[in-house]
């Protein structure tokens, strides 16, 4: 299995897709996470993402390998954005290609769920009047 991992200021969706194309794959599944306008009914102005880049790359690589051992995947792409992001901007790109669609769907779901749990990346939301780190408060 081949994996393509990146932490980048700008996510290139076309490039993410191209890194999943594979002659042995009959299915490519992708998930793109984007900035939405409301969180807990508060209006979001923008989001700022910070990563512990060296560790995040290592964890993403580990997740790709985990998915590759659970499902028969040919290619996996994991890209996360850092820096300031506006509403509708893509912030995460997850994709898997496999001979059949089932594995690609399941692996993509697994990858985004695990990424949110373990990869050292943090988002700070800025509202009209203040900003705060997400998940950081009891």
């Amino acid at each position: 299995m081949e994996s393509h991992i990146a932490i980048t200021p700008e996510i290139n969706i076309q490039e993410g897709y191209e890194n999943l194309i594979d002659p042995k794959s009959g299915g490519i599944c992708t998930f793109i996470g984007t900035v939405r306008d409301l969180n807990n009914e508060k209006e979001v102005s923008n989001l700022f993402f910070e990563a512990y880049e060296k560790m995040a790359i290592l964890k993403l690589e580990e997740l790709a390998q985990e998915a590759g051992s659970k499902w028969p995947l040919n290619k996996v792409v994991l890209i996360h954005a850092v820096g300031m992001k506006k509403i509708t901007d893509p912030v995460v790109f997850v994709g898997a290609s496999s001979a059949h669609r089932d594995a690609a769907f399941q692996a993509s779901r697994y990858l985004i769920d695990r990424l949110k749990e373990v990869v050292p990346i943090w988002k700070k939301e800025t509202y009209q009047d203040h900003s705060s780190w997400i998940n950081a408060h009891p």
Partner: protein, 79 residues
């Protein structure tokens, strides 16, 4: 010991990298956390605080060398 801090932990410590005085060369993660909580009490209020050592999540019993790459990992929120 140099300690990297991210997200809200960086706001609490006041810098992305702090120089944390350590007399001993080796310290257990749980003891390091106690020392950090003494100096930065606001860290106690976080829902969780993981410590990474040389880019891997450490357990409470992991032994840290003062020259290791250590980081404070508050609850992650990527994606």
């Amino acid at each position: 010991m140099k300690i990297n801090a991210f997200g809200i932990a960086k706001d609490i410590t006041g810098a992305s990298q702090i120089e944390f005085p350590m007399e001993e060369t080796f310290v257990k993660v749980k003891d390091l956390k106690s020392l950090l909580y003494q100096k930065y009490p606001d860290l106690i209020n976080l829902p969780s605080l993981a410590i990474s050592v040389n880019l891997f999540y450490a357990s409470e019993e992991t032994i840290v060398n003062k020259h290791d790459e250590v980081a404070l990992i508050p609850p992650v929120s990527g994606g």
